[in-house]
Amino acid sequence: MPRDDSSRAVTNGPVRALAALARRYTARPDQTPAAPPAAVIVVAGALALSGLSNPATLFNWYLVVIYALFALSANVVIGWNGIGTFGHALYFAAGAYAVALLATANLPAEVLLLLGGAVGAAIGLMFGLAATRTGSLVAMAMLTLMFAQLGYQIVYGVGVFGGENGLVGIPRGSVFGISLNSTTAFNWYLMIVFGLCWYALVRLRRSTVARAMLAARDDPTRARAAGLHVTGLRVTGFVIGGLFAGLAGALYAQTEGVIGSDVAYWTTSGMVLIMVIIGGTGRLWGPVIGAALYTWGNVYLLNTTSTMDVYLGLALLLILLVAPRGIAQLLTSAARLAVSGARRRHREAGTGTRKGNPRRW
């Protein structure tokens, strides 16, 4: 869609301002469409989930999808903003508890989901405003941790949240009148929510705002000189991160049916951080890989050993010191090497008619 169509269609001030804002937060028009891949993810994911018969396996794949969304949300703050956040557990927990506490209100599942996201975004906004009062990354990591722990103490101590035992019996509810208690319906619901979030994040990642966030991450001083509002961009990252973490938390509550205060403890933030770092911050699919590896690695290690922390720590250190952009970076460079190697062999064999990139004449 050409860019000027949308701006010509709107005439009055506030609407035009909103349209301009929307354009800043979505992709530029000259880029590849994001909707078809997202649709493929939804359909393929839902069909694959429906093909699983073992309930334990199915449940672990649900966790992979939820943690993938959670890791994608954390990647906005860690990868795009370059801020080490230890507050993510609380946004996730906020989304989950919002769903759990409103379960008695008989709201449709999609409304609960959006409320969970909104609560996560609101807490993200609070954390962002408070943490970005300092410019130091060390202080920001500590501040997010402190705020999240205050939240944890509240979740743990205040009776409404059920304390250590948490809240149980959270219903899955229904979407547009379709009950989510059937496995097939829930598979589609989960994958559609994930696909929509994926689509939104792809559009966001290509937007002017995300590019400005990367600029502010790489060199805050230069970004400021170029007229970017660095603090504002950081807070924006916290809000986006909080929104998607809240959505992931809401999905978690709907999937598990049970939620306990340990979800809000700071080690949950550590967990999602491991997923993001191991998977890789440079690509959107990096955190998804990280989430899948973490979830299944966890299942495997829990079955075989009591010492998974050792392996997690070693894996995290290895990735950080050897390939700080994670497995995504390793895979991308490997693919690039393979492609260039194949091209060279192709040329050397004399079968190629053109040298170099065939698209360039």
């Binding site: 202080a139 500590m142 010492t307 922390d309 720590g313 010191l321």
Partner: protein
């Protein structure tokens, strides 16, 4: 009134382990600009080593203190090794990688503790001299509180002399102020870093040994004590040892007063103090602007 005074004394005694752990973290943070998530694990290892040395048995005070020192030194070796092997590799990289690497170290060391000592909790008996309560001028004071307060004050004084009035302390402060300039002036910055890390770790482990009779020795100690260390350092100001003393006393007294008079607020009070203080003064009580603006 006597109740209030004994509350204050208990608060001060409670503050001293906070101070030991926090000042250790402040030292490493100041010298190396590294926020060490593994710091709480050193506390935990200190408690485990003390239990291993004494086998959980009650001993007399001298042996207990010797075991505390032994736990501190043994753990400090682990700390120095982890600095040399892992953290040194991150110094030239982005600060975010350094922070995350210490989290990896946290997981690794915590996992190793479970490998070595198992997942079941241990308990350590009080030494004979620190059991029960003593009444001084009508004020009830727990004997273990006297020990904690005494050790905290002695170590604090020693740390003050070491950092402010010794050649080594001058080097530490020089490296904390400006690593490159200190290096250009002939300070062996790497050796100073490792020594600072050794001392910082031993302080955390000493606190762990000291508190071992009062806590359940299990693998959750690391995650909770790194938070206490962070709270102290954030309130006191990043990298300020004097600030961590003041912060620890404020936090210990606040907590103790809440335990006595406002028990319902007690779980939140430390974090409330932190959050309020940070909103008013983001760089902490005695923090330098360098660490706040970084």
């Amino acid at each position: 009134m006597n109740h209030f005074i004994s509350t204050l004394v208990a608060g001060f005694a409670e503050a001293m382990p906070f101070f030991l752990v926090g000042s250790g973290l402040a030292l490493t943070l100041g010298v190396m600009d590294i926020l060490n998530f593994a710091h709480g694990v050193y506390f935990m290892i200190g408690a485990y080593v003390l239990h291993a040395l004494l086998g959980g048995a009650a001993v007399n005070l001298v042996f207990f203190l010797l075991a505390c020192v032994g736990a501190g030194l043994a753990t400090a070796v682990i700390g120095a090794v982890s600095e040399r092997t892992v953290l040194r590799l991150t110094y030239r990289k982005e600060p975010l990688i350094g922070i995350l690497a210490t989290y990896g170290l946290f997981l690794l060391l915590q996992g190793l503790v479970i490998v070595v000592w198992g997942a079941a909790p241990f308990s350590q008996n009080q030494s004979f001299a620190t059991r029960g309560i003593v009444t001084i001028a009508g004020v009830n004071v727990a004997r273990s509180d006297i020990l904690n307060a005494g050790v905290g004050l002695v170590v604090g004084a020693a740390l003050y002399v070491l950092i402010r009035h010794s050649p080594f302390g001058t080097k530490v402060r020089a490296v904390a102020e400006d690593r490159e300039m200190a290096s250009a002036l002939g300070v062996a910055t790497e050796r100073v870093s490792m020594a600072a890390f050794f001392i910082g770790t031993s302080l955390a482990a000493l606190a762990g040994g000291l508190l071992a009779p009062q806590v359940s020795i299990d693998q959750t100690l690391g995650a909770s004590w790194v938070l206490y260390a962070f709270i102290v350092v954030v309130v006191g100001g990043l990298g300020s040892i004097g600030g961590s003393f003041v912060a620890a006393v404020i936090l210990g007294e606040t907590d103790s007063i809440c335990v006595s008079y406002l028990p319902s607020v007690e779980p939140y009070i430390l974090y409330i103090v932190v959050v309020v203080l940070l909103l008013v003064r983001p760089r902490g009580l005695m923090g330098s602007l360098r660490h706040a603006e970084g």
